[in-house]
Symmetry: C2
Subunit: 501 residues, 2 copies
């Protein structure tokens, strides 16, 4: 079945090399892609080649690159490697790009994922020159069937002066009907309530729209998404998932959660998969999810029937799981809905639905301030992603990490977080394999006692308690959040100087 059936756009089919000539030095380019799904596979490489040739001639060639979230080696990787990315937003996780950001070669704007689209169309980031968006098919009327992610594609297609489409036949043609693209967002004062009442409600269209007059090239591809290998949950992940699921049972028993919970959000990674595995083996039924990303664990939970349905903006599957999903896509129709990230991460929707948010962290301090993004204060890892959108507006939020890293050299519970992405006002529940600290309704001082006792690794617990006790003693008029500023970051300094906190 041909993927491009629009007579007008069929005439625009060309090579990636030809398409890439529409992208020039100094331009702002919005590309598709969210957690390694639905990113363009061919044009970025061709842009990298153009840039290398230009650099070889001694010419400048760099762009500002906007995406949905993280992409893949074929996008962030090749462009970072070629030194093309002067500025990048709103989330990344590519090792080559990360190195460029941390070396100062690339400016990185780490915004909340729910803010990126609107701030772009408010004009806060400047004019968007070109959009490069991967889709699964182009219909006869020119409408676009999205692929394995929606992300910011609607906004990039609307804002860009020129559009390049990649039509990837690796995506199942059956993707038609899996998406809900909300076209109701407006600038103030024309904004209206988003009439979303439950996770699987349709409030938009199954298709992306594009002005055919803006389309300068259509490129055909047949390449898989990044497909990171799935790792079975390790003992730590299982322990954390166990604490978390036990806590959900505790909340049900106290009447603060219904038996089928509220819609789940879980960040990307091992722990998220472990929580899904724990739920799969549990008594819970009729669960739903309102989340960003569908990982293997969530698809498994859908398969068991315990999870009724999932709203997200993207997949992030292993190669095997992607292959099995693609082969059986029709079976999931009506149980999976992919939305724009503006809606999947919208404060209005998250608060209304009462989402239970589960996100990883790098470290938490004893008062519950959470670092999600930096190593030792200065170097970025990935970015805040949607964790702020979800944590702030959730009914319940969990921040989860093993209590130690690097074989015990680093404690994830520290006196003072070396970068703060989620403040004490936002964080509710901290979980490590050691245990769970429920911080709701507690003052910072009481939080500290709970976190140290429940979450810290035994190797670090006494030293944390000692820091806290001495901070209490040193601040007779500062008992609300007692700190010893002269040694607040000493643990991080120890690691930098001696390789151990």
């Amino acid at each position: 079945m041909p993927r491009i059936t629009c007579p007008v756009l069929k005439t625009k089919v060309t090579t990636a090399q030809e398409a890439a000539t529409h992208i020039g030095h100094g331009q702002r380019v919005g590309m598709s892609g969210f957690t390694g799904a639905g990113y363009p596979k061919a044009v970025p490489g061709a842009v990298a080649e153009r840039a290398k040739a230009a650099h070889g001639r001694g010419e400048d060639f760099s762009i500002e690159l906007w995406t949905g979230a993280s992409t893949a080696p074929e996008l962030d990787g090749v462009l970072a490697e070629a030194g093309v990315i002067a500025k990048r937003l709103p989330f990344q996780s590519d090792p080559t790009l990360r190195a460029k950001i941390n070396s100062g070669a690339t400016e990185y704007i780490d915004t909340h994922l729910s803010h990126s689209a609107q701030q772009a169309w408010f004009g806060f980031y400047g004019n968007l020159d070109v959009a490069v968006v991967e889709v699964a098919a182009i219909l006869p009327n020119g409408m676009l069937v999205p692929g394995s992610s929606v992300g910011n594609n609607k906004t990039w297609l609307e804002l860009a002066d020129k559009v390049i489409l990649e039509v990837n036949s690796w995506h199942p043609r059956a993707y038609e009907g899996f998406h809900d693209v909300y076209y109701g967002t407006k600038r103030p004062p024309e904004r209206r309530p988003i009439q979303l009442l439950e996770p699987m409600q349709r409030i938009g269209d199954p298709y992306l729209r594009v002005d055919p007059g803006k389309v300068v090239a259509v490129v055909e591809t047949d390449a898989p998404d990044r497909n990171l290998p799935f790792k079975s949950p390790d003992e730590n992940s299982k322990a954390m998932a166990g604490h978390l699921v036990d806590f959900l049972r505790h909340e049900i028993s106290h009447g603060r959660l219904p038996a089928n919970l509220f819609p789940l959000q879980s960040g990307v990674g091992n722990v998220a998969n472990a929580v899904m595995a724990e739920l799969a083996e549990s008594e819970f039924e009729h669960l739903t999810a309102y989340t960003e990303v569908i990982q293997d664990g969530m698809l498994d939970l859908l398969d068991t029937g315990k999870l009724t349905a999932v709203s997200a903006t993207s997949f992030s599957l292993s190669a095997e799981r992607a292959a099995s999903f693609n082969a059986r896509a029709e079976e999931y129709k009506g149980r999976i809905l992919l939305r724009t990230q503006e809606i999947s991460n919208h404060p209005e929707a998250i608060r209304r639905l009462g989402v239970i948010a589960i996100n990883g962290m790098v470290e938490a301090d004893i008062y519950g301030n959470v670092n999600s993004t930096h190593v030792m204060g200065s170097s970025i890892i990935n970015g805040i992603g949607g964790s702020g959108d979800f944590a702030r507006n959730a009914y319940l939020n969990f921040f989860v990490s093993p209590s130690v890293a690097k074989g015990g050299a680093i404690s994830s519970i520290v006196p003072f977080a070396s970068h703060i992405d989620h403040t004490e006002h936002d964080t509710q529940i901290i979980v490590t394999e050691q245990g769970l600290a429920d911080l709701r309704g507690l003052s910072p001082s009481v939080r500290a006692k709970r976190i140290i006792a429940a979450c810290a690794h035994p190797d670090y617990r006494d030293r944390l308690q000692d820091y806290y006790d001495r901070a209490v003693a040193a601040n007779p008029e500062g008992q609300h959040t007692p700190h010893l500023l002269s040694e607040a970051f000493r643990w991080h300094e120890n690691y930098q100087q001696h390789g151990r906190m």
Copy 2:
């Protein structure tokens, strides 16, 4: 005109002393009051007397106290003085209470103001035993005419097992019609969109409801709200207001704001009044406000006609302005609406309306992380209040402070904020009397250069630049947010040890 015309509730009229007997040791008590307006004037003092008597007999007497926000000496002051407040939420600004919190005698839960009501009815803070709510009148059918603030009153009246009403005839009887109490909030999954489309739209009732069967006492009072004196804007405030208003003009000229702006929010204080004064002398017209608190400056702006209307949850006026408002209240009807703080601060409403948020700060670090709550990391000042609700969801947010405090001994721009309430992901525009730094779409490193150049006081600018330069040099692989952790808080330590940063 009698204020209590409900036959049933009239039978409950009694003294404050008698009413206070319904409040006992260990109870949770929800009282009205928001920024020194609409708090009960008599019962708290009677509770303090009861407690002192109990303490004199060697008995324990303490309560958990929930309010809307800050109150006054007659509430937080007398109860803190008597050692009654074991736990307090969600915002305070009383000197006696602050000292109790900082000495460790009182646990303080500093939540976002939009979260406090819902987290209470989610059951996160435990059962509410008694509500003490001030109103302007009780109607024949038992409905309550609210006074100078709404705050969390709806929720406290709903949740409490027992209710004590104070009917304060100092409030104009003409308050009837000034309020909009939304009764549509629900727990998930029954939550529905809040159908608020513009600041002055009514979505609720003019009255508070109470189950008459729960009312155990009605106390009559005739005492004014706290009424802090109004200070004319000083030179610094005028300079900051000037930078801010110029920036709004700049945004209009670039098509990013309409000529009448979007609804304004401004925090409590001198700068807020100065911004209103600057707007009063400006070319702006047909302005609106969607804010927490109506101060003198905003009322002045209403009087000039430049401000069409204001939605808030409370007044916070000087004695003279309160007197003039009370005398002429009828003239303001239809131009002022007081809502529950759940709605005045609701992320859904703030984001939809595109609010322009202006809030004070204690300090910002060079990367734009903002401290709104603490002195030197450990001691609380007031609390986060609504600044997080507004800043995160605003169309534009401003954080404003003079560049130095304590006669130049403290810089409000520092290497690392000693407490972080608003992260780099949230803050957009930093303003001091020195200038304004627009941080939108900039990486942390570029932000640092802007903030140091535009906002820092000349006495500290070179040292900030030196910190940044040495942090850059010391972190070849940490150029995203370069820090020197060993001296990140040295400025604060200098102040603690030598009285100067």
